[in-house]
Amino acid sequence: MIVMKEGNKRIPKWGRKVFAVAGGLTDYRKRFPEYKLEELVMTAFRQMLEKNDLKIDPLEVKGLVNYAVYAEFADHFQDQLLCEAKVHDYLGLDPLYNIGVKTGGATGGSAVLTGAMAVASGYADVVLVAGWERMDEVDTRTGNTYISFAACKDYETRLARMYSAYYAPMAKRFMETYKLSEETRAKVAVKNHLYACSSPYSQQPGKYTVEDILNSRMSAWPLRFLECCAMSVGAACILLCDEKTAYKLTDRPCELFIAGGSHTLRVADRRHQEIPLLPHETPETYKELIKPGSRYPGFESFLASRMAAWFCYRMAGIENPLEDLDLVELHDAFTISDIQTYGDIGLRPYGQEPDYIESGDAYYINPNTEKPGKCPSNLSGGLIGTMHAVGATGIFQGVECLWQVQQKYDRFHGDPKIWEFWGKKKPEDWESLQIPDRNGCQAAWVSHAGVGSHVTMGILRKAW
């Protein structure tokens, strides 16, 4: 569809309010033979029920669940069809109904959206949303070929069998069109690997320099290995509920808004179109941007991310994301896709995305001013630093947002017992990345698939 008609532009609206109250994660590792998949989900499920200050007994919380939504990217990886049934039984939730959701890299976000719809519609009062991925049954090159089956198998898969090679042409195009330097791209990797150092769940923490990133092994030019997300094994859970149950379960519920957009599987098929404007943009914003021969979204931007933000900001009453949001967790599968997203979700106008990094706004502490960054991004360590167990990812991001807004970052990242549980030692120089509290504190996360085929944006807002 090129021209959206009025009916297509209807803003999503819940039938009743939806809240998130608790979350649970696991460690994320390249290989994880210690646990079977369902055992990992159980571990995240227990953290969610037992460690989130819920005001009633964990088994009584379970006694309120009506429905479960499960997120898994690819049956190829699990080598087990109907994993959902196996997990659901393992968690002891039969005979309640459960449903599996699959939208590539955006699977976790789509599962949260599906769970929220069940609460909003009245189908359920309490919904478990859980996701996982086991990517260690095959070696890395085979794993990359499995993932490349999410490209078009007729026209694209055989041309690389590797997702970085579908993002790298976007990086080249973006660098040329919007004057993005290799150094700015590398700074995203430096930042996210660094923030992963504060997380007991992270797979790829590291204190790297820009030079380290640019000297690392090439995957598909210009993208280096240290600019790419990890293949992970792990799970994540989040508990959604209606307003009444939310306040019964916790003193710190967060109101949830979430919406999505989609666009072609093949980047190739994206025809030029007008830029849909976010609430803080006007036609003047882009008067100079589109020149003869250039295209929107072209290879520079993601229409699906723009539409997810377009719907979600209006649904949640966000007027200016940089001013209104206290944190964003973005789908940094690659440094370039992270940067592309800054424009899509309006942290900067299209064409000025690199400035979100260079200004220091994206940092916990702005390196230019030594003061808190205006709207920090990926304090979780993101996909580059912490994890991309694909089905779990969009839930992991939501949980990190939830704990940040609930002022529980330190509890879930700084407790030495959590580090020890996962066989790690809390670093001597561990630093808190807790965002400041304020009335109406809110965090957004973007869950993203393919080369932008499915994207959801979720917002969690302090509601106490």
Binding site: M1, I2, P33, E34, Y35, D79, D139, R141, T142, G143, N144, T145, I147, S148, C152, K153, D154, Y155, E156, R158, L159, A160, R161, M162, S164, A165, A168, P169, M170, A171, K172, R173, E176, R217, M218, S219, A220, W221, P222, L223, R266, V267, A268, D269, R270, R271, F299
Partner: protein, 166 residues
Amino acid sequence: MGNRKDEAQFIGQPAKVIQTEPAMVVEWPRTFLHRHTYGKLTPFFKGLQEGRLLATRCTNSKCSENRLWLPARADCPDCHQPMDWEEISHPVIGTIYTYTKVAYGGMGLEISEPYWQIDVELPGVCTIFKGWLRYGEPKIGMKVKAEFQKVPTNTILNIYWVPYEE
């Protein structure tokens, strides 16, 4: 009471144990054959075997777009009507829109690494066609010419591009 001479036998191979600590891990090798149809895209892939590049065009007079598509698709997404096949005339000359050098491809990759993967704009085509550059060094805006494998691969890899100078 059963008769043991008719008993069922284990006829597989023992699974290879590759580690026992901290948990037991076994290998489970297998090979599967898939039969993949090109469906209504068959003229496109037959064209590649014959050294011809075919696109599809919507010719429905009621369609607001009437675009030319490559990658070809059989049905128009704007008006939902079947489209017509249209050959891109020889020599097929395109312009590089963007590119990458693939240094680390996935398992089973059929092109020798490293190689240039290029995205090509073609006159009149509403989409951008992904392919590979056989030799030379790409630049955005550079002209390239389509060539075809002499021994057909029967896949998208049958078409490749080479630098073109007028």
